[in-house]
């Protein structure tokens, strides 16, 4: 059990546990956040999990946790850890079950007053066109052959099918296509699950939202991202569906014996890993990248149906119903990146689980459109609360291998949430706040109620305080579509 006193406050928002806390630690553990968020981290087992991560072979500098850290499977959620490409490991638990769960934001030229009279219709049409909920198939049915192309090409496949523009791909992390993807590394069972689900939101905390930009913190960056106050935007939050979950489950199973075979110990079986420089390690990365591509394609297909829905409802009623992509980020991924560590350039496998890349202006990996501004960092709030758009900074490269938070964690169990309120009640309370809701499951709605989540504003303020991203804009929802 780690005690608060064992951490040293290195800076206003930086808390460090020295590696001599446990002889198995290879690096110190660091928590980034306000004092309140640091204290809250002791409420669950996320700190023990962070300490465990610090024991994994080839880890570089620190095992890190972002301000929204909470207990996960293996890595804490909000966990960031980078491993040397030659000597380090890759770990499915450092990516998560929902590979490439992420957020896409689209911006319109519509003002709030223009859309208000049509919100009800728009919510209904979106709910119809963008499948959500348990047991629901996706908007696009695939053959095995086509699925393999989705796994290789991601959003590029979507463009070939007419679901994306080149501009969409440019404004997607990694161009919507992870390198090193290999469909053969994806277990058949995962493919079976993926075949009927492309173009679906899923359930749980996934959502589609219509939001209004209600605050601009940095005018220049906001303008570069295509955002302004009073504007209608759309957010899509979902991942790789059953295919991704199955890839993670299968590889957790397949890698069970790898630590023993490669001569290292893991403190928690949920941290099974293999050297990146091994057949097993490369296979996992290839399967993970393929699942990630599925998720990019999924969000792209959904974006296409969002655009069709806007056209269906708003053509002839507003002057311009077109939606331009702001960005699409992933918050569950492992990426091969070059970083400067102690003055030397090194190739690292950066695991971000419940954490978002946050690259600064000038970074060569950034799309040209944003290279002089920095990367948009999309941080969704919980249902009915604000979401934020941030921009990546130089400090993030120095402090967190270019990483930031991803959203707010829960404060209350699903069970407790359903006992506190019924879904219908949550829906009418949101309605009173001016938020139109379409949800498949009333129980799911209660589980996802705003009161069940921490305050994302506090998380974002901490991120800004650390300096790993800066606030650019805030949005609040006017319509929510959930499974």
């Amino acid at each position: 059990m780690v005690k608060r006193e064992e951490f040293q406050r290195v800076d206003a928002y930086v808390w460090e546990l020295p590696r001599n806390f446990d002889s198995r630690m290879l690096v110190p553990a660091r928590i980034y956040g306000s004092e309140a968020l640091f204290r809250a981290a002791f409420d669950d087992r996320s700190i023990e999990q962070l300490v465990n991560v610090a024991m994994l072979p080839g880890i570089v500098k620190y095992a890190m946790a972002m301000p929204d850290m909470h207990q996960g499977y293996g890595f804490p959620i909000g966990g960031v850890a980078a491993f040397d490409a030659d000597t380090g490991i890759v770990s499915p638990g450092g990516v998560g079950y929902d590979i490439n769960c992420g957020v896409r934001m689209l911006a319109s030229q519509i003002e709030e007053e223009e859309i208000r009279p049509h919100l009800n219709d728009l919510a209904t049409i979106l709910y119809r066109n963008c499948p959500s909920g348990v047991g629901e198939g996706g908007a696009v049915r695939l053959s095995y052959g086509e699925l393999d192309r989705v796994l290789e090409e991601g959003a590029r496949w979507a463009k070939a099918q007419g679901y994306a523009t080149e501009d969409d791909l440019e404004r997607t992390e990694s161009g919507g296509r992870m390198p090193r993807a290999n469909p053969s590394a994806v277990p058949d069972r995962a493919k079976q699950r993926g075949l009927p689900q492309l173009g679906s939101l899923g359930s749980g905390n996934h959502f589609l939202e219509i939001d209004i930009v209600d605050a601009i913190y940095e005018a220049e960056a906001a303008a570069a991202f295509g955002l302004r106050e009073g504007q209608v935007v759309v957010q899509i939050h979902c991942g790789s569906r059953g295919l991704g979950h199955e890839v993670c489950s299968q590889y957790l199973r397949m890698l069970q014996d790898a630590p023993r075979r490669y001569g290292f110990e893991i403190p928690d079986r949920e941290l099974v890993s293999a050297p990146y420089d091994s057949v097993e390690g490369r296979d996992y990365v290839a399967a993970m990248a393929a699942a990630a591509n599925y998720a990019f394609a999924n969000r792209q297909v959904l974006a296409h149906f969002v655009r069709l829905s806007f056209e269906e409802v708003l053509a002839g009623k507003v002057s311009n119903w077109h939606l331009q992509q702001v960005y699409d980020i992933t918050h569950n991924m492992a990426k091969v990146e070059d970083h400067v560590v102690d003055g030397k350039r090194r190739t690292l496998i950066v695991h971000r689980k419940g954490a978002t890349r946050s690259f600064p202006a000038g970074h060569p990996e950034l799309t040209e459109v944003y290279r002089s501004t920095g990367q948009p960092v999309l941080v969704p709030g919980s249902m009915g609360t604000a979401s934020y758009v941030l921009v990546g900074t130089e400090s993030s490269m120095a402090l967190t291998f270019g990483s930031s938070c991803h959203g707010a964690g829960r404060t209350m169990s699903r069970h407790a949430a359903t006992r506190r309120a019924r879904g219908e009640q949550v829906r009418s309370e949101l309605h009173e706040q001016g938020i139109t809701v379409r949800a498949q499951s009333m129980r799911g709605l209660a589980e996802e109620a705003p009161f069940a989540y921490k305050d994302v504003s506090e998380v974002v303020d901490s991120v800004a305080g650390v300096g790993i991203a800066r606030k650019v804009a805030r949005v609040h929802p006017v319509a929510v579509i959930k499974g």
């Binding site: 669950d44 909470h70 207990q71 499977y73 079950y97 929902d98 909920g133 348990v134 047991g135 069972r189 079976q192 699950r193 899923g202 359930s203 749980g204 059953g242 979950h245 199955e246 993670c248 489950s249 957790l252 199973r253 069970q256 014996d257 079986r269 949920e270 964690g409 829960r410 404060t411 209350m412 169990s413 699903r414 069970h415 407790a416 499951s441 129980r443 799911g444 499974g483």
Partner: protein, 139 residues
């Protein structure tokens, strides 16, 4: 063999996901009870519709993995076949292997989606009364 189903289960508080504690008089009872408990959170079988069958044969390095595989198989069949399997006729249950004939009905209502059966805190423990375990599901 169906064995004597004496097992029981209860939900344990968990902030983000679903956690169950399960007891069984023997390994078969534990596996059957864990399965029924999990299924009660994900789907309700239809009242009408014929009975559907499936066969499951699994082997694993350890009992915990076997349990994860077993529960995962039921979730996979629910998703792919849209069938809720709640009757299990095991012809073998050992710490490393099981085989069973399953009987179920089409899904009547979906209740929730389980993303995965995790290994979190997972330990199948033998006690004086039989077996017990805690299983956490990523929801």
């Amino acid at each position: 063999m169906q064995g004597l189903i004496m097992g029981r289960w209860k939900e344990i508080p968990h902030t983000a996901d679903l956690a169950l504690h399960v007891w069984g008089s023997d390994l078969l009872d534990l596996f059957a009870t864990a399965a029924r408990a999990m299924m009660s959170f994900v789907a309700v079988p239809a009242q009408q519709g014929g009975e559907l069958r499936a066969r499951v044969q699994l082997e694993a390095l350890d009992t915990e993995t076997l349990l994860v595989d077993w529960l995962g198989e039921l979730l996979f069949l629910l998703e792919r076949e849209r069938v809720v399997f709640v009757t299990y006729d095991f012809d073998r249950v050992t710490p490393n292997a099981l085989s069973a004939d399953l009987t179920g009905r089409p899904v009547g209502t979906y209740l929730a989606n389980i993303k995965a059966v995790t290994y979190h805190n997972l330990a199948v423990v033998q006690t004086e009364e039989g077996y017990e375990t805690e299983v956490v599901f990523d929801v």
